[in-house]
Symmetry: D2
């Protein structure tokens, strides 16, 4: 009820605050016999870690994960898998002066309205450090998906310009998968990636931040995953994506573009695939029809807002409603995009792992 | 696990197929003492009913609801509220000739891939008639929200042109709330509504269909609703909206537009409201920060694809993968927008009712 | 949260009041492809129906079930199965005079304390008619279990004497399975059954009621069902059994008798079974170890209290706490045992069906 | 689905194996603002700790708890509370020689049947060390209940004699609450406690173990807790109790004794209480009617089997079904009763805390 878990069959629970002793998670429902180790989790965490590049926050956390349960002799046992990452570089002093002010664009006020008070140190539970648990759990989900030959891939598709003009957004124009992990923007277009880095640096210099779009894909998803009514595959993926901080829009396949299409244009004709199975000639539907996977690639796009923490003065109020000016210091990212990539992958992996298991119960 | 329920505290389960004996739902978790009657539910169902206008399907269903439990002497008792609507105008003969063909854009193939076979009559469980249960349940949710002075409002914001050019979409330009229920498009701009009707009729004449955008708003939502991590208010609303057939995109507040903004532009400054409370000077965030409502208006937009059922020949395959041509007869809508309006309202109401109850457990 | 559903993978929701228009249920999560029809459900309902014999209530309800969804051409489709039984013989006039009095042993007071008011007609939601939905859902569960060669069997093991002396309870001494459905007590010992009937008739003549014990068994349960910590098989069965009205005690295998045993006596030695598998030489454990089925017969016993509705005057209070005398007229059973038999079978079947499906997710 | 969580509103998840790095738990759904600290948890853990006395196992574990999240400045924040206890005294060498043998009365075989293999060190996930998470979570539940003036109390009611004769069981005859924590049996009758200790020592000397009965009570429970159908208060308590290792029977109030009573004897008359509220003149019902608390004391009894780990040779089979003799060394309790007391209290507290929160949603 308090919403710190996601998934029904493959279920992740995260816990921990930015400046508490540790952050972590529990994965419940992972089948027994899956080969997994701390190195697999660590590799995933290293991809989301801060302090990676000049486009990211300067907080230095090694983020070393320990598996505390559920794995024996290199394999999952069917018992819950608890994982912990201790916080080592928390600097609460940055937050002390502004603990009674509401940072614009942040959860400070709404959290107070809900709970009466909050752990204000580093954003507390609302910190991006909460996503460590997601990425750790997602690594296990990805290992499970790999046993069924599914792969997840995400990348920075577009970066805003800060002009407020939609047409000016920088979009990746070429897609070179190998390029993604080679540049710090995780953009599949090397040339565009360079321009993106320049924009991010300019935003940082002007004490500002930029939004953008991440695209996530799943390949090898068998047809039949997803439940046809409320737990449609796009509904559960949609929820997973909207649970990531900073996401303001989610779309599948043609997405908002369908508003401009006729049915005769938008429908993807069914065809016999070379392997004899059924497929579609095009993939405007984005891999899901009627809430159930079709076997085509699942395609999701996420709109990420510019990070709310900016180092320039903003007007706000304090807890009592008195007007105030606030300047948010601390170590913040001028864009979340590169770090959003592994988080979005984790959320898609978690959702697909859940539905992969649930699908086992569909037929007598 | 099979996904026919939504909500945790206020929980709706729907059941029923398009051409089965009936469709219906159960609402579990509605508090005792809420004044409600069949007339309240009927009013809501009448708004979503087909056969309402020249822009909708010709199937003639009275959709008379019966409350079978959970209400005594005009008030809810705390027991589950079961509601049923019998199907009276099902014509399965339209579907018999195409029962082994996969209709493009529909759930036929993916349902077969999941379950091995399906009730092919009228789309079976995947029919839009399933949404009757949503609207019936949503009417109870709205009654509950009304006790806390919350209102839900939806309308057709935009209709596609079928040209495939995004820039050509017809958007409502003026907002006159009173206008919404006066025109058959449920568009708040009377002049634009007229143009929309012309487009829909043209699409019908060319045996085609059109997509568009619906906007949904909630007013009077108290700050504090939503759970801060996976059950963020936008995550649960996002899931609810993506569970509606035909929805390919969902966005909040500025939505995908945030990709173009700087943090300094996008952050909404906190201010003291005239009533002494805390609010924001603008509402680009769409009423939710950190997954928790802020007290500002909640604003959601949904992209609806053009209905997949079109009366022109399309290429497809049969169950064995053999190429075939299909023409989908039956009584279909050339656009879902006007009927999507009450469904979207219902889904937002259900989600808010759920979180309104859950919020009661936030503090000692 | 409001507790009208049970099961996670195979999930039953019941609804309906004794004197409302109908009672019914929805089964969600039943796999597709299970052969089932109204006749299967009806047969189960006929076994629990009132008015069957001189040891049961005189209310005459045909209890005709209709399947409203989820079954197509004789098989489940994977969609939720809604079932309804209309109430036809409700006589609320018996309850009108006592609607403001709290019947001893009933839920009247505690329901008022919870919800503020109640549907007082025939016990409302707390009526034994609620169990119609359980038996209907249980019939589907039993059909699913039968596909895996599991059988459920229950019977009256013991009937109280009303003397308050435990040693005087009448226990079945011989076990003849064929006898169970031949006598109105559903006791596997024909001679004891006769004595039981005499006792029940004597209790009815003295305007009183009797308690007793029902035993339930499951055969053919494969080893491996149940989850090892909170959802131990005995925990979920225990919950299912304690959710039946009138049950005050539940025990497995040796049950409370284990308190008198040494470990060396109580442990069942493991042996190789004739079929090569592993079994136990004795079955004091009752078919479950560590919360997981062992493959041995599951054995559960339920203690049922004497029905609270008795036709003699009792002292009580009214809603305002004023002392009063109450005589509960209406048509009541002097013992619940024979009707408890199919209800207990249903609850065990529902729980095993749930764990049978859940077990599919245990291994990679 | 994998059953490592319990509770819906107040939800505990435990994780960890006997000889893994640590055991722990997460409490999700605890309201904000509850005063709690590590000392409160530690006090509860110290009560369940092994190595406490001559009637308990010799494993020496300090069981120091750390709160890793969810508490800020001495109060819960509404975020999940993660707690960890590192294992320090695990001696897996005792288990190595018997890792391929199935210990009679243990989960070894059924776990293998479910998952294909198991962490055999010290019982792995099936170890009593799993209950550390329950007691830690229960301590928070008790703190929450205390804010509503509820108290939980458990004690050893009876110890078996090992003769197999039920009539020979040693029952506490006098009830002196202050005595409970004074003797190592946690029995409220000092004289009987002495006899119990003698029996336990005799059992240990003969390399055997003894069963018994624990009684648990809750006082100050307001009327209205519990949901009337499947989540009856006794159903959820019953599940919680049956989830404790070694429990073979659970009963409420008169329990199995109701089988011997007439309705006229068993019904508790309602009366006006001195404070003006409604109560019952007697409490045979054990504090719950119709699944909902009445305000009377809740009374539950648990039958605990004699511990399965005994140091004498037993006959069994190995993983391949080959006959074998096994002697279980290690550090085991000849009776679980004294340590069962705090565990049973924790499970009752967890269940009541859950229903206390759920009750907040019962009325508009």
């Amino acid at each position: 009820m308090a919403g710190n878990s996601i998934g029904q069959a493959f279920r992740l629970t995260t816990w921990g605050e930015s400046h508490g002793p540790a952050v972590g998670c529990t994965v419940d429902g992972c089948p027994s016999g899956l080969a997994i180790g701390e190195a697999d989790i660590q590799r995933a965490l290293d991809r989301r870690r801060v302090g990676q590049s000049k486009v990211s926050s300067a907080r230095q956390e090694p983020d070393r994960v320990q598996i505390l349960s559920g794995v024996f002799e290199g394999h999952t046992t069917g018992a819950p898998i608890a994982m912990v990452v201790y916080n080592t570089d928390a600097k609460s002093s940055h937050y002390e002066p502004i603990k009674d002010l509401y940072r614009p664009g942040h959860a400070d006020y709404s959290w107070d309205a809900k709970y009466g008070f909050r752990d204000w140190r580093g954003g507390g539970r609302s910190s991006a450090r909460e996503t460590i648990g997601r990425v750790a759990g997602g690594a296990i989900a990805q290992a499970l998906l790999a046993t069924a030959d599914m792969q997840i891939l995400a990348y920075t598709l577009a970066l805003g310009n800060g002009s407020g003009v939609t047409g000016d957004i920088l979009f990746a124009e070429n897609f070179d998968e190998a390029e993604i992990e080679r540049n710090i923007m995780r953009c599949p277009d090397a040339a565009v990636a360079e321009q993106m880095v320049e924009r991010v640096e300019a935003a940082r210099r002007s004490l500002d931040s930029l939004g953008g779009i991440v695209e996530v894909r799943a390949r090898g998803v068998p047809p039949g995953l997803g439940e046809p009514v409320f737990d449609k595959l796009q509904a559960d993926i949609g929820k997973a994506m909207f649970s990531i901080p900073a996401i303001k829009g989610v779309e599948f396949g043609e997405g908002f573009g369908v508003a401009a299409l006729r049915g005769s244009e938008n429908n993807d004709p069914f065809v016999r695939r070379p392997d004899g199975g059924v497929g579609t000639a095009s993939n405007r539907h984005g891999g899901i029809l009627g809430g159930i996977s079709t076997g085509e690639e699942i395609i999701v796009r996420l709109a990420a807002k510019p990070p709310a923490s900016i180092a320039q003065p903003q007007s706000t109020v304090d807890r009592d409603g008195n007007p105030a000016e606030i300047t948010v210091h601390g170590r913040h990212d001028p864009t979340v995009l590169p770090r959003l990539v592994p988080i979005a992958e984790a959320m898609l992996a978690l959702t697909l792992a859940d539905h992969l298991l649930r699908q086992r119960m569909a037929r007598v």
